[in-house]
Amino acid sequence: MSDISVGAFYNPHLGRELAAADGIDHLAMADPPSAGDPWFPQIRERYTLLLHDYLGQLSEPLDERSIQRARSLAQLYRSPWVAEHFQCLHTEDGAYSLNYVFPPLYTEEFLDRFVRNAKALKDRLDQPLVMENIPGFFDVKASQLPEPVWLRRFFEATGVGFLLDLPHVWLEAHYHDLEPERWLAEFPLEHVVELHVAGVEQDADLGGPWIAPAEPSQAMLDFMAHAVGRCPRAKAVTFDAFSPSLAAEVLLRSVERIRRAL
């Protein structure tokens, strides 16, 4: 029996089912609860909640408003750690935004930016900061370092924890014709605090698999078990699905299967 916490994302449309569910240790919060959510008070009392909102992109320093928002959400949730992403999804002038996680160039300049801004954020939080890896569907020639090397240097420079998103690693391996286990071995797994697991589905635009609010396959669960065994500081595994289309059965069954696979 593993002592790793197993959980899912809080999906407000499943508030009733989650308030009554068994077998879920924690819930990650992607959005603040709406004022009219009748289930959130029960959810907050019952579960460990993990702050996993969009706080800002750390290619730039977070402004005071964003920092105060992060602090107040972490306090509301009593979150044991605060999560952000290795993302740079809007232009510096705000004119263009992808509205979807997108990785930075893996360069010395971006490493310096992320280290500086993550340290500044970490210093303002009362909880540890963890950062999640983001998949690239294509390589940008201006990148100078392999992603795992860039990540390792970031974690060593900041002391921040690693939120390892396994489907992201799996997808990168898929699109680079690599064995997922071999690609995973390159990452700084000794810094991992939390892991994300999810399903993937075929996407017509991409012409291949991508993250979807679906059950993880058995192969993905095997990959998770393989990864957890190599992450000595891992404390939690989260079923990473947050979508109005997610069915309660899918969420509950996925958490149960994750627990069995650990």
Partner: protein, 252 residues
């Protein structure tokens, strides 16, 4: 060019289809063009799916009567045909996509008398949300209270039905579609600099101030033209500024 500027070029290429097709982008040779195109199309569908599901949620609630879910347009040839022209976040693209959705929904079965008003309202919300936004506060800057100016994207809707009376009911369980009272209703739709869309009931004073606030008239000129005394004008302006409908410009 800095790495940050290069990243901005990649983000723009993914968000802005005409730029993606331009010699300026293609000449950089930064990434596999076919993969960039595939990912950009994926992002566009994701981007508009989020907005259609959010802003057309009332029409979505009526899908069991109309037989049409708004987000279905994203898998239709009409949307595919737009992909080479869309600029994610631009008001023109939002207007084009919202019109496509409204057209599709208006062709469905309906015994909903207020459907036309509803589609105008939902499309206006989606269009108002578009446009560049402030992601980071850069300090207070100059805030001279001199020339009130209507914020781009702010819309006054003149409706035949009192939609605010029916909208919350549409999202609750119902067996018969909720009825909207038939009475002329003015709604103001606006967006804050951070992207929050808000709606408020309008009146004659609001309509006059929104129409006249051009960033050139002083408060006194605006009060005279709107037929308001100075106190009434300032009260109206405070509400409009809170909503994001009007800001103060420093003049030219």
């Amino acid at each position: 060019m800095s790495d940050r500027a290069l990243q901005d070029a990649v983000i723009r290429a993914l968000a802005d289809a005409p730029y993606r097709a331009s010699p300026e982008w293609r000449g950089r040779g930064l990434a596999d063009a076919s993969r960039v195109e595939r990912y950009a199309r994926f992002l566009a569908r994701h981007f508009y799916n989020e907005r259609i599901v959010n802003f057309f949620k009332y029409s979505r609630a009526l899908a069991r009567i109309t037989g049409r879910r708004p987000e279905a347009v994203l898998r239709q040839p009409g949307f595919d045909a737009l992909l080479s022209t869309l600029v994610l976040g631009s008001r023109d693209s939002a207007r084009t996509v919202a019109a496509l959705v409204a057209r599709y929904l208006s062709e469905g079965e309906s015994a909903i008398p207020y459907r036309s008003d509803l589609l105008r309202y939902e499309a206006a919300m989606m269009v108002a949300e578009a446009g560049a936004r402030i992601w980071r506060e850069q300090g207070e800057g100059r805030r001279e209270r001199a020339f009130p100016e209507r914020v781009e994207g702010t819309v006054l809707l003149e409706l035949e039905y009192d939609l605010p009376a029916v909208l919350p009911k549409l999202l609750q369980p119902w067996s018969e579609p909720p009825v909207a009272p038939r009475r002329a209703t003015t709604l103001l739709v606006a967006r804050s600099p951070h992207g929050r869309v808000a709606v408020a009931r309008g009146n004659q004073a609001v309509a006059a101030v929104v129409a006249l606030a051009d960033g050139k008239r002083t408060l006194d000129q605006l009060a005279t033209r709107a037929g308001l005394d100075r106190a009434a004008l300032e009260e109206t302006l405070l509400g409009l500024i809170d909503l994001g409908a009007v800001r103060f410009s420093t003049g030219s």
